[in-house]
């Protein structure tokens, strides 16, 4: 057997079920790897050694008695935006550096009930605002493929931890690309489910009409296993969809023969980098060899997605983040001279630069006299984008394109220019605006660095996305490539 930490979640589950490995062996192997790699990669903000070891021993004991739940003893790590009762939840911010949530997020509870063992909490851009994981109060995360480069963001810790084999599965969240873009830059698989598929209860809110929890792993199969655990209705999130959860693993092996893959012309115009185009063509060749056909479609308003997103997301953020006031939880400035000073300094000292920028943009867009020009206009464009997707998905089963314009960039390269950073998400934000499911999966390396392709499906079409990606992963080995240094 190969090294324990090389195994996928499905392989680890099989080894546990067959009695080839114990949970203590698995948990120890991953914790040891975290301890050896985290000082360089900084993927974890908090490592829960003791809780994990104890849970592993308990899981082994339960298995010995035949009383273990299906996923008992398998490891996971949570993005530090999912509240965990008893373990601090920082959201990558000074504001919450010492915050211990008084309850578990729905996703965390579901994982615990299934028997998954949390190894710790993963680094991220502060309040999930960023595309490089450089906006963390706890320092930048480094890309395991090249530590001088970013892992993407905002779920940079989740992606880097999976890529470096520090955990086989990680939770993540995606408001404008925060699961898919880091998955693409680190050679991992990532899925943002349909808005409403996974409960947002206990996820610290950024932009409530766009935020969605999902997963990063090595394979579509592992995501199918994990999604079955975390998806489903939760009365504590009024936007959670009351829709049955299918067995996502049951359709993984469906043939792709006859499936139609839509290629948005706007994703393949002259601006697409030639190396990225070659990578996408390599993936499309595999789709065609498996019997799928391709058709050109158009997403006419895709260019307006980023401008409209940078009104809607900051507007919702400015409202959501008003709860951080230095009164009920989180950071409080010292020696406030009055209540206004307490609010202004607690927020001024507790938030980082990007978060402040977005609060200011959002507050401005929602301020008196500007509503029609900004927020209403952006919501109108949002409808046009949604209609584009509906039209396109009437002509095909799934949409295909690159996840990112290029491979991972160097740390510091885009920090001085917010616009350059925002354009990282040029291919991903529209999916969130339309509320659709989107996944990023491993495409060929470009000059030794990972690239990713993106599949977007109709609402609640996660099964079709995972099926297609699994078929590609069955026919290729791009998802098994790993950083040489590890």
């Amino acid at each position: 057997m190969s090294q324990i930490t090389d195994l996928t979640l499905a392989q680890l589950k099989q080894a546990l079920d067959d009695g080839d490995l114990s949970s203590v062996e698995i948990t120890t192997a991953f914790l040891d790897r975290i301890d050896s790699l985290n000082p360089e990669l900084n993927a974890f903000i908090t490592i829960t050694h003791e809780d994990a070891r104890k849970a592993a021993a308990d899981a082994d004991a339960a298995r010995a008695k035949g009383k273990a739940s299906a996923f008992a003893g398998l490891p996971i790590a949570h993005k530090d935006l999912f509240c965990t009762d008893g373990t601090r939840t920082t959201c990558g911010s000074k504001m919450l550096a010492d915050f211990v949530a008084p309850y578990d997020a729905h996703v965390v509870s579901r994982c615990q009930q299934a028997g998954l063992i949390s190894l710790g909490k993963l680094n991220m851009d502060e309040f999930a605002m960023g595309s490089s994981n450089e906006n963390s109060f706890f320092g930048a995360v480094r890309n395991p493929w090249d530590p001088s480069r970013v892992p993407g963001g905002s779920s940079g810790g989740s992606a880097a931890a999976v890529a470096a084999r520090m955990t086989p599965l990680a939770t993540a969240t995606d408001t404008g690309g925060s699961i898919r873009q880091p998955a693409a830059l680190t050679g991992t698989s990532g899925l943002k489910p349909t808005y409403g598929r996974v409960s947002r209860f206990g996820m610290i809110a950024f932009a409530s009409s766009l935020d969605q929890g999902g997963l990063i792993a090595h394979t579509a199969e592992d995501i199918a296993l994990g999604l079955g655990l975390i998806a489903g209705h939760d009365p504590r999130d009024s936007t959670s969809a009351d829709q049955a959860v299918p067995d996502y693993t049951a359709t993984l092996s469906d043939p792709l023969k006859g499936k139609v893959i839509g290629l948005p012309t706007q994703f393949f115009d002259e601006r697409l980098d030639p190396a990225m185009r070659q990578s996408m063509n390599d993936v499309l060749d595999v789709f065609r060899s498996l019997g799928a056909t391709t058709v050109e479609v158009s997403l006419d308003h895709i260019a307006e997605a980023i401008p409209a997103y940078y009104v809607i997301a900051p507007a919702e953020a400015s409202s959501n983040l008003s709860r951080f006031d230095g009164v009920r939880f989180g950071y409080r400035a010292e020696h406030p001279k009055d209540l206004t000073d307490l609010y202004e300094r607690s927020r001024g000292e507790g938030f980082g630069g990007e978060v402040k920028r977005r609060i200011l943009i959002g507050t401005y867009a929602l301020s008196e006299g500007y509503y029609d020009a900004y927020y209403k206009k952006a919501q109108q464009i949002r409808r046009l984008i949604k209609q584009d997707f509906e039209r396109a998905l009437n002509q095909c089963d799934l949409l295909f394109g690159p996840t990112t314009p290029s491979t991972a960039f160097v740390i510091g390269e885009k920090t001085a220019d917010p616009i350059a950073m925002y354009l990282e998400d040029i291919y991903t934000v529209a999916t969130n605006m339309a509320g659709l499911p989107g996944g990023s999966f491993q495409a060929p390396l470009i000059d030794g660095l990972p690239s990713g392709y993106q599949l977007t499906g109709p609402a609640f079409g996660e099964g079709a996305i995972l099926n297609a990606a699994h078929q590609i992963q069955t026919a290729t080995d791009w998802h098994t490539l790993r950083p040489e240094s590890l």
Binding site: E344, K356, L360, R383, A459
Partner: protein
Amino acid sequence: MSLTSDDVKRVAKLARLGLTQAETNETLTQLNSILGLVDQMQQTNTDGVAPLAHPLELTQTLRADQVTETNHREKYQSVAPQAEAGLYLVPRVVE
């Protein structure tokens, strides 16, 4: 539309966000470039298009009007910077 330094101060005041003078200056440039990006929206004709607030356009489901939550005040207040006797403490507001 271009913001001035006074606009940034006004918006920061609305958001109860303390900014240093250096931050105000740096933010001004960045906010104006972000607003330049955002203004690309104005080129799109949206006449007669209904705003979309929520991607699934679901109607809000209502639950039965029954008490389901128990009192967690003590636990919730345990994470407050300053709480006493069930109250959150802040600087004096009324003399």
